[in-house]
Symmetry: C2
Subunit: 209 residues, 2 copies
DNA sequence: GCCTCTCCTTGACACTTGTCAAGAAAACTT
DNA sequence: AAGTTTTCTTGACAAGTGTCAAGGAGAGGC
């Protein structure tokens, strides 16, 4: 057996992953069949089992493939903002924009995360990705606190869970009502962010208010 | 045709709904088949279509049936607490306890809410129930603010989304790690609740800090 | 007893699903 | 060009799905 040219093989896997994401985002995990997925690709339905051993493996590979691109979404926000207000505005705008641009992917993410509560096989990958998302959000909060000359008032998991709740609520509302709700999301974020930091060590600054 | 004794008919529907909840909570919406549901009931699989026209109708009826019981879960907390600290502690304890007692039901709820983003037919019922949950949470927040002699610092949808995020995160963690995470939830709630209210109209009290 | 109506079971239907094996087609090697 | 390996298609399989129709079982009225 010859060495597999890992590049070629992996490129096909990525190609299939893209098609899978398209279908999964549209139909959700439960209703996305391998035939439907293959139908959204240049290949036929049998090829999936040449590149993946399982439907589960395909799904996990796909969502990893996607989330890998996404964990840097707010990095520019973090690095380019120079004032708290600027950061909050940029962050809020980015949150709303990604719902506009990638609603199906976000729906898929929440779908998979929920399914992972029922299906053990998804749990490990989902847990890991969720951790990277928490870290992603925490970088924003941490930077925001720094720009405020303050400290986060809640730990990372709490901040992530709260903002995730806002985001998920907005996604849900967006699915029902579309565009108009996104302004509301931005407003929510502007309201909430200040609550997530409190005055830094008062021996140094004496507090902000 | 004789008048249907509405009581009998509805009691059977409720009975089937209970069995459906059992199965749905265990397997999730996608994997819970009508045969499996009937298997958890005293009846055979065909009877479902005698009492419900659809699988969807059964599911919606079931979740409505369940949530109707639940929207009062925190009412005692609201009415029995006389200090902010007492309320927060009771609320936090109740949140943790319901995860302990009814994790499958909560998993089902999040499953259905997520599926409603893919399946139009679920949306109306889910949206309505979500509204009642928001109201349920808001009663807690409102009471808390009153006891603090303060006002909520965020509107109802925001407060609900944030606490829902915390709760969902805890449910997820509980599914993976079990009991130990529930103390964390209580701690999170104690941290977050004070952030959701701010000093009442300063012309009246002069502020708390 | 018999008839009628409600309630429930059984068994079938059309369809979809993930999986896999057999072999065609394409790519690469020599 | 021939042979070999990689890649992909086709078609089938068994299992499972929601749905429904035919008819049995049981109760209650006459």
């Amino acid at each position: 057996m010859k060495d597999r040219p890992a590049g070629k093989f992996d490129r096909r896997r990525d190609e299939l992953a893209e098609s899978a994401l398209l279908t999964l985002g549209e139909l959700g995990y439960a209703r996305a069949s391998l035939r439907e997925i293959a139908g959204n690709s240049p290949f036929s339905h049998g090829v999936v089992h040449y590149y993946f051993s399982d439907k589960t493996e395909l799904v996990i590979y796909s969502v990893r493939h996607y989330k890998a691109r996404c964990v840097t979404r707010y990095d520019a926000v973090v690095s380019d903002s120079t004032t708290p207000g600027e950061l909050v505005d940029a962050f809020a705008a980015k949150l709303a924009q990604t719902i506009r641009d990638e609603a199906p992917m976000h729906r898929l993410w929440y779908d998979l995360r929920t399914q992972s509560m029922f299906e053990e096989s998804l749990r490990e990958a989902i847990t890991e990705i969720d951790g990277t998302l928490e870290a992603m959000i925490w970088r924003v909060i941490d930077r925001y606190a720094t720009l405020c000359d303050a400290r986060p008032s809640v730990p990372a998991p709490t901040a992530y869970a709260m903002l995730d709740g806002l985001f998920q609520g907005a996604l849900l509302a967006y699915t029902t009502s579309g565009e108009p709700v996104l302004d509301g999301l931005a407003a929510q974020v502007r309201t909430v962010m200040p609550l997530l930091v409190s005055a830094a060590d008062p021996t140094r600054t004496g507090g902000q208010r």
